[in-house]
Subunit: 141 residues, 3 copies
């Protein structure tokens, strides 16, 4: 088992691609075949696997999330940190806190269009922590 | 590998914190560093990681889920167990059936505000089964 | 660790049960107790665990998803592959890309009503790839 922490400084609400950073952790682990598990240590930021070629996909996703869970919805009582407080928790719960990706040939075996993203749900910048755990064999076949 | 089953008696719809029960399984496993994987064996109850300090967060979440997937929605044909039957399946599918948390220093490395919850989606009480699997090293560094 | 790739030819939008195919991989792995991890290599098809007895559950689920994320919604700019392009990405993000199921007695320990499904979100048929990774002990207790 090999483990590293990633620290991501977000610029407020939006998706932040972390695919390359994860691939570098896999390389440093020297694992040839195995699993790469991600965990985000927050309840107002989450993980998604998303199309990574056309940036309009993530713009549309952001619009959709804003309509599905509106900031400042009068239904919400929990607003101590602002109108985006409760929506951030709900958006996190509807996406992923943990994610496991297969490793093949010393690299995460992602599909052609798959990118891994940290999704910041708060409107202000935050420092976010992700644990990357690599389990597998470090010998060539 | 170390494994235990948890049985949770729910009191009907709502979130049930299981963080402490999971931490006790990790302690009994004697694993120092590794992964803790949870799996809920049902299609009308699910797992979430949620803010665990202010109970209004989970009340707002419950209200939001009830508006997003209304009980008794005339769209639903599957209602053999009542108006909450199909919504319970959908709420489960939109959240988590499995979850993997890193273990550090003999404990689940959760963020400051992260709690793990079983979310019962049926309105009546149910007995729910969760499998906790611990993988890792049982020796100190 | 034991690994196999599944290739699923979908017939367009809808749920495709893969429980039996996964159980066969577990049998071939000869693992008695452990974990079975699934990963889908796409951003417009996803994994769900769903009630597998009454087919109206999955029909209702499909209707619900179509209402929650409407095809051709004028909000979406990303429509290069048609009105179901962006909805397919969002439906994938709201469900699962990876899933881990406990193995007990040489078989996935699913609940009585749990089936594992590949959910195709595009309206046209696609070839989808899933990696199944088995980790565990291959000796009897």
């Amino acid at each position: 088992m090999y483990r590293e922490q990633l620290t991501i400084e977000t610029r407020g609400r939006g998706t932040h691609e972390i695919t390359r950073q994860i691939q570098l952790v896999v390389e440093r682990s020297k694992v040839v075949a195995g699993m790469c598990s991600l965990f985000v240590h927050h309840t107002s930021a989450s993980l998604i696997v998303c199309e990574n070629a056309d940036p309009t996909v993530r713009r549309d996703l952001e619009q959709f999330a804003a309509r599905m869970v509106p900031d400042g919805d009068p239904m919400f009582c929990h607003d101590s940190e602002g109108p985006d407080d409760m929506p951030a928790h709900i958006r996190s719960i509807l996406t992923l806190t943990s994610l496991s990706i297969p490793i093949e040939n010393r690299s995460c075996d992602l599909g052609t269009w798959q990118g891994v993203f940290l999704w910041e749900h708060r409107t202000s910048p935050h420092r976010r922590r992700i644990t990357v755990t690599i389990i597998g064999d470090d010998v060539s076949a």
